[in-house]
Symmetry: C2
Subunit: 237 residues, 2 copies
Amino acid sequence: MLNVRSANEGRSGASGPSLPPEDLTTRARIRDAAILRFAREGFGASVRAIAADADVSPALVLHHFGSKDGLRAACDEHVLATVRSTKHDVMADAAGTSPMGAWFAQVEEYAPAVGYALRSLQAGGTLARAFVDHMVSDAVVYLREAVAAGVLVPSRDEEARARYLVLSAMGALLLSLTLDPPEHPDDLAGATRRYVDSVTLPALELYTDGLLASRRMLDEYLLYVGDPPDGTDAASA
Amino acid sequence: MLNVRSANEGRSGASGPSLPPEDLTTRARIRDAAILRFAREGFGASVRAIAADADVSPALVLHHFGSKDGLRAACDEHVLATVRSTKHDVMADAAGTSPMGAWFAQVEEYAPAVGYALRSLQAGGTLARAFVDHMVSDAVVYLREAVAAGVLVPSRDEEARARYLVLSAMGALLLSLTLDPPEHPDDLAGATRRYVDSVTLPALELYTDGLLASRRMLDEYLLYVGDPPDGTDAASA
DNA sequence: GTCTATATAATGATAGAC
DNA sequence: GTCTATCATTATATAGAC
């Protein structure tokens, strides 16, 4: 169940995020510089700029990673590994309000990886899908535990609820950060905290009392999925 | 209250979205081609490609709009005007479940403008902010009406709730479309419908029964905001 | 492994004829 | 208004010396 796997054990690896940059392989230094640039500017960032950040020539970047896409793949892999080995500790207690928001706000040390992950979610692609799928699987577990503990009400489809909650929380945070980007590009944590503060009250209200005053809509929907009338014109019900 | 304003009355304007392309000014044809290209490929789309779509030379595009940014500004303006004059009819009855989703699913005719708007939300910028602010203002009105009619439960901060619901619904839809883009680039409506179908049950459950089994978290939060203890270390409450 | 120098392709934008 | 032709810049990527 615990999917913690260290990504940095090979001869060339060695990059726990808290290691000083001068101890890293050139390859790792380039990769970290790329992650940071991509996080700050998006994936349009040029190989030249990354090379400059890592104090090497552009050619060396491509020598190590083959192409810009190869570099991105290496960054994806490293970020995914980082996230996997990190998230577990900080996620456990945040299942209540805005799970992902709390997660992001807490991991200042991993800011580059987080920024990179957000860019991935913004751009789509394989990492983004893996990232979300991972969060959904985790959410299913945590939601089940919370239901068993009597903290949360049960759902008729825990998997669908987990996906819905993850998409909503992540999507809202991502959209909010896109609309009001942090002034200083590295203040993701602060911007996230401000966002979380701004939605805590309505989120808690919604999670406590819901939104609808009656059960009619839900009841009608349950009737509908139990016996779908036609499927042609009732599809927007 | 009704913010309907036609955008196409000037000598050069004239572009209700249902007019045949051959009746449009060259300038308008270029602009529409740009909206479609931007919607399909994002804002990295080249001036050359847009010119080809509109059957003109790249130079003419820049002659009419000054620069690529000028072209984007014109597209922004036109899309915003289109959205403003369109949304009101289709949004009224969708206040219940997934407001924005229903809205998007319904307006197949305006697919290019919708796709463009989604790209804007993905990329950020002025239009995106205007777009969201507009939806939030509308949501405030509709939510208030629904509360008055006894359909929805009231909130302690209707403005914050409206913003939270809009960000969540739009963000989740946007993220979902980013993760699983429609196979055919013009099937936004279908992809949106599939997304809405997939979240209707958990959304209705959440809107009906909430998520939390007790009122404790909300009560504690209300106590906290009523008398904030310190502000230094309790900020993540 | 690392560099300099360069090939190649694409971009946004301009000049000037018609 | 519309075009052809072209410029200047920038991008990724390669060749080959060290």
